[in-house]
Amino acid sequence: MKITREQVDYVALLGRLELEPEEKEKYMGQLDDILKYMDMLAEVPTDDVEPMAGPVELYTPLREDEVKPSLPVQEALANAPDRDGTSFRVPKVIE
């Protein structure tokens, strides 16, 4: 196996996913199969190949620092599951 139950637990926590025990079993097997399939990449020589992040040459578009209209606060908050005045309301973060 390329992937252990502990790794599944760890990755699920990193990905912020609460998985049921049977989901973990299923994903462990499926991720293992998928990662075995990925092994074929090891046979490609890539020592002097540059990695590619995207298909276009990225550049940093510059513009004047002008204030432009942006989304009004109430519209930006309109989809929030919980809000208070001009804020998103969340569970207590600092104990």
Binding site: I34, M40, V49, V56, L58, P81, V90, P91
Partner: protein, 486 residues
């Protein structure tokens, strides 16, 4: 006059110009067709009759003043991952089941400026992750040609809607084949433009270095009109390329004699269906009859495309989907004990199995100790795939190949076998990896009556060449004129 809902956008434009019907009448015909078809096909997540009739009324007023463009008043569908201000946009997911965007995607702004009519949001695989539209939270779309079959994905609703006469044209998005595959499986025409040709502003992100919006239509002239409308630079998308585009309709009637099409052997040794082989041979002889030359060539790293894609796309997705945290929009779990617990439960309840699988895969590939072996390796292989195409285009004007190894498969056939599902995209994924334009067009039918679409691939920003080639093919053939027996 034929049924309004069976006409192309170009034909409907003539109906409007000749004052034979108004946009409201045309829109009404499509809304009635949707009502009759949805139980069978289920192309839409949300149908928006009020918005549609408002837009149609406005279009009629513009046309009466002698204003508007070639697409003003024409009804269309928009994939459910493009934000429409004030209309629910869910990305096929429970986690966005109640999300009402406070702004328009750039393509939706272009639709409004042109005066097209939005009929609703088309069904899709959840977060565009899938090849069959089966992973949608809202249930699967069915292939209009055979309701037991999948329509392809992830833009299955966009393709099925056009095939079933539930929209004249539509927009889809394509990260690994999500426009071309459903277009091929549903017997319609679709193009994924060059990466950077169309703004992604307001497109719900899946894998940002691969995602691209494009049109689906019944024929190539309609495709050219929509491309004219949506292509162009947008300062709000920093990967959108500042470049003026051609008038794509100027290429519809150009001869193709003397052009060369490349046949990469790695694509053709994957064919899993004698029907596809036959249709490839028939299509080749049509092109030869039009004076096109063929040259065999090789894309040596093509076979690594799937493996590299299913590292890169889930890696980008695991990062992009971190925003669904139950704070800013969408679903939030009802019970939780802490902030982290709130995130974990919200996401467990809101995401479906395929999205969770890809978040797990991407998180693993980017996690400490595995980054070099997976993400970095895949990014290097991506460079090699891109180089292969560059070399291939030294010998040909465009590449000709299948869109998929076989026609549409049965609903349920591959849903529990991720690798088999992923392999459906073997012919389309390399095009996204290199950021190239690719088109799927109807080229024939299988023995049991399923459409088979083939693919043309061009160098960066040579969409016009694909338009030219496929328009010439459609003048000689009638596959694109066939309608499903609904």
């Amino acid at each position: 006059m034929a049924n309004l809902y069976e006409m192309t956008a170009t034909e409907l434009g003539r109906v409007l110009a000749g004052k034979k019907a108004s946009s409201v009448e045309i829109t009404d015909a499509f809304l009635k067709r949707i009502e009759a078809m949805e139980e069978k096909v289920h192309s839409y997540v949300t149908v928006t009759p009020e918005l549609a009739l408002d837009m149609a009324g406005e279009a009629d007023r513009r046309l009466a003043r002698g204003e508007g463009g070639p697409l003003t008043g024409i009804p269309m569908a928009v994939k459910d991952n493009m934000c429409i201000k004030g209309q629910r946009t869910t990305c096929g997911s429970k986690i966005l089941h109640n999300f009402v965007p406070p702004y328009d995607a750039q393509v939706v702004s272009r639709i409004r400026e042109e005066g097209m009519v939005i009929l609703g949001s088309a069904n899709m695989d959840e977060f565009a992750m899938g090849s069959s539209t089966e992973t949608s939270h809202w249930g699967t779309t069915r292939n209009p040609w055979n309701l037991d079959m999948i329509p392809g994905g992830s833009s299955g609703g966009s393709a099925a809607a056009v095939a079933a006469g539930e929209a004249a044209v539509s927009l889809g998005s394509d990260t690994g084949g999500s426009i071309r595959l459903p277009a091929a499986f549903c017997g319609v025409t679709g193009i994924k433009p060059t990466y950077g040709a169309v703004s992604r502003y307001g497109l719900v992100a899946y894998a940002s270095s691969l995602d691209q919006i494009g049109p689906i239509s019944r024929d190539v002239p309609d495709l050219a009109l929509i491309l004219n409308m949506i292509c162009g630079h947008d300062p709000k998308d920093s990967t959108s390329v500042p470049r003026a585009h051609e008038d794509f309709t100027a290429f519809l009637d150009k001869p193709i004699s003397g052009m060369t099409l490349g046949l990469p052997k790695e694509f053709f040794n994957k064919l899993a269906s004698p029907d596809v082989e036959r249709v490839v041979a028939e299509t080749r002889s049509v092109f030869e009859g039009l004076g096109v030359n063929f040259v065999e060539l090789s894309l040596p790293h093509l076979d690594y495309g799937i493996a590299a894609y299913y590292i890169i796309a889930p890696s980008e997705a695991s990062s992009n989907l971190a925003r669904y945290d139950g704070v800013k929009y969408g679903h939030r779990a009802a019970k939780f004990s802490s902030m982290i617990d709130m995130y974990c439960r919200t996401r467990a309840e809101g995401f479906g199995p395929e999205v969770k699988r890809r978040i797990m895969l991407g998180t693993y590939a980017l996690s400490s100790g595995y980054y070099d072996a997976y993400y970095l390796k895949a990014a290097k292989v991506r460079t090699l795939i891109t180089r292969d195409f560059k070399r291939a285009f030294e010998a040909c004007d465009a590449i000709f190949c299948p869109t998929a190894p076989s026609p549409a498969f049965r609903i349920g056939e591959k849903i529990d076998d991720p690798i088999q599902m992923y392999l459906t995209d073997v012919c389309t994924i390399p095009v996204n990896m290199a950021g190239l334009p690719g088109m799927a067009f109807p080229a024939g039918f299988s023995a049991d009556g399923l459409p088979i679409g083939l693919q043309l691939i061009a160098p960066h920003f040579e969409e016009a060449r694909l338009i030219q080639l496929a328009a010439a093919f459609q003048r000689e053939t009638d596959h694109h004129l066939k309608r499903p027996p609904l």
